[in-house]
């Protein structure tokens, strides 16, 4: 569904992503794990065209999307839920969600999606008329994911959904990610919390200083000694 080939991204002279390649197949949850500064978020931001790569090609459903504008990427159903939520604090929860359906014209469908999001996140329904900025961190993350769902994503890019959340909330968010995937949405997940990410993902790529150093199905990686030592907090 999504193929990234030989992608290199620079911030000025600094290379953040070095020649990485990976793919996401329809129906999967794929995760990119790695430490701070490994290039995970940069990769996601490049896929959704918020930054331009220096080299490499990104194809989505056999269409090259490397040179598209961010709004065109959204139009293809490639939806980015950015790091740090980026919800609009001055808009109500409902308006934030409506914003997620910005490119959709099917009014009935939008209302239906809104109901689905509220069914999935009852807490957002309770806070429907509250301003986004007054929500707790967990609720804001739910709102950010909900806003992504409002766009009817074919592929959802999730950037650090567990950031700043308590362990219980993190579990909750990951459970939600799992159900979203089970309902048919493909997911590319970027996480520092490798433990949780490997629980929910089918396959994983491990990034270190801008390179893919290891990849495979989640089960295999979970059992790998190096991964256990470096990312799962076990003493080797």
């Amino acid at each position: 569904m999504l193929t990234v080939r030989n992608l290199s991204v620079y911030y000025g002279a600094i290379q953040a992503v070095q020649d990485i390649s990976f793919e996401v197949k329809e129906g999967e949850v794929v995760t990119l794990i790695g430490a701070n500064g490994a290039g995970k978020s940069t990769t996601l931001r490049t896929i959704s065209s918020l930054i331009k790569p220096k080299n490499g090609e990104i194809t989505f459903e056999d269409k090259t999307v490397t040179n598209l504008k961010p709004h065109q990427i959204v139009g293809l159903g490639l939806i980015h839920v950015p790091e740090g939520r980026k919800i609009i604090g001055n808009f109500t929860v409902r308006d934030n969600l409506k914003m997620g359906a910005f490119l959709r014209k099917d009014k009935a469908g939008i209302i239906e999606s809104m109901e689905e999001v509220f069914a999935r996140f009852p807490r957002l329904k309770e806070r429907e008329k509250q301003l986004g900025g007054t929500l707790s961190g967990g609720e804001q993350q739910m709102l950010a994911i909900g806003r992504g769902l409002m766009a009817k994503p074919r592929l959802l890019l999730l950037d650090e959904p567990s950031m700043g959340l308590s362990p219980i909330l993190t579990e909750e968010i990951f459970e939600i990610i799992r159900t979203i995937n089970q309902k048919g949405t493909t997911i590319l997940l970027v996480e520092q919390n490798a433990y949780m990410a490997l629980q929910v993902a089918h396959r994983a790529y491990v990034l270190e200083t801008g390179r893919v150093v290891m990849s495979g199905d989640s089960q295999t990686l979970r059992d790998d000694q190096r991964i256990r030592a470096a990312y799962l907090g076990e003493i080797a």
Binding site: I79, I88, N90, F91, G100, L103, K129
Partner: protein, 332 residues
């Protein structure tokens, strides 16, 4: 639309008629002498221009410090039309359209390269542009003698009476309000609040910045065009840096994101300055800069969000969307 909205529109229309009648009454009884009527016209013209900047800066977050230049472009280009073709109502309307169009066109051309960058660059570009325009007006007589250059432009038929200005002011308010409350306006607000958020929901950032910028500068051009037909003397210094700051102060003072605030503050601002001029006499001009700075400092210290914050009132307040049934929300 919903009943509530319809009612508010009626109240607004009634209010407009009442204001008009009141002004006429005050003018007839001599309570408002021609001098203050002139100031009132100026306040309404200022309101039109300030609404433009309110959409650009207050609503869409695009920092522009050259608003008076677009006002000037509107004034001079409209003035040229009637100065050459005469001041009958048709030509006057043509002149207004020309002034508004020229300002919008120039805004579009500047926007093409600059609006792809962040808002700060627009600030710098419009600042520079404002200076260029002033120099252009100073020397315009070398190309078009009618424009007068540094000695100013005269001979424009003074055909813009209170009625015209009032009508166009109301029209501008309605246009700005409709834009801000449309999906397009929401997109502009979203990009002001967070460009990444706007990007990831599929808002074409460049297009919406352009929409706001061209719309706002067109209003500035319209205001300038009216000005040219109400004040017999156009001088380049009326359209340089300081008048641009006037517009900025109005938008910031009124409250970023509040059209209500812009309208009230624009009118209040013009009357305040005139009042000070009356009280302080000729020293006013010397102390104007001090007063500006003091006012801004006080507002930043006491009420950073501006007088109206981002709230709207009455006709300008967001519509309760009945279509969404019991889930209706009031957008703030």
């Amino acid at each position: 639309m919903a009943l509530k909205d319809g009612k508010r529109v009626l109240v607004f229309i009634a209010g407009v008629i009442a204001v008009y009648a009141l002004v006429k009454l005050l003018a007839m009884t001599g309570f408002l002498n021609p001098y203050w009527l002139r100031i009132l016209d100026q306040a309404l013209i200022m309101t039109i221009g300030a609404l433009g900047l309110s959409v650009i800066f207050g609503i869409s977050g695009q920092f522009s410090i050259g608003h008076a230049a677009f006002f000037g472009i509107g004034a001079y280009s409209a003035g040229l039309v009637t100065k050459s073709l005469g001041g009958d109502p048709f030509t006057f309307l043509l002149a207004l359209a020309t002034g508004a169009f020229m300002a919008g066109l120039v805004a579009f051309l500047i926007g093409l390269p600059v609006l792809r960058l962040t808002s700060d660059y627009l600030g710098i570009a419009t600042l520079g542009f404002g200076i260029i325009v002033k120099v252009g007006f100073d020397n315009a007589n070398k190309v078009i003698p009618e424009m007068g250059g540094a000695t100013g432009m005269t001979g424009i038929p003074q055909v813009a009476n209170f009625e015209w200005i009032f009508i166009f002011c109301i029209l501008s308010i309605v246009l700005a309000r409709n834009l801000v409350q449309s999906g397009h306006g929401r997109a502009c607000t979203a990009l002001r609040e967070d460009e990444v958020a706007a990007n990831v929901v599929g808002i074409n950032i460049f297009r919406y910045k352009m929409l706001a910028f061209v719309f706002g500068c067109t209003l500035a051009g319209l205001a300038g065009a009216l000005y040219a037909h109400r004040y017999p003397f156009l001088h380049p210094s009326s359209f340089d840096f300081l008048p641009s700051i006037d517009f900025l102060i109005i938008v910031v003072l009124g409250g970023m994101g509040s059209l209500t605030g812009t309208i009230v503050t624009a009118i209040g601002w013009v009357f305040l300055l005139e009042g000070l001029r009356t009280v302080l006499g000729s020293t006013f001009v010397d102390y104007r800069g001090v007063i500006y700075a003091l006012l801004l400092i006080i507002v930043i210290l006491v009420r950073r969000q501006g007088i109206f914050g981002n709230k709207e009132y009455g006709f300008l307040a967001p519509v309760v969307r009945r279509k969404e049934g019991r889930n209706a929300t009031i957008e703030s």
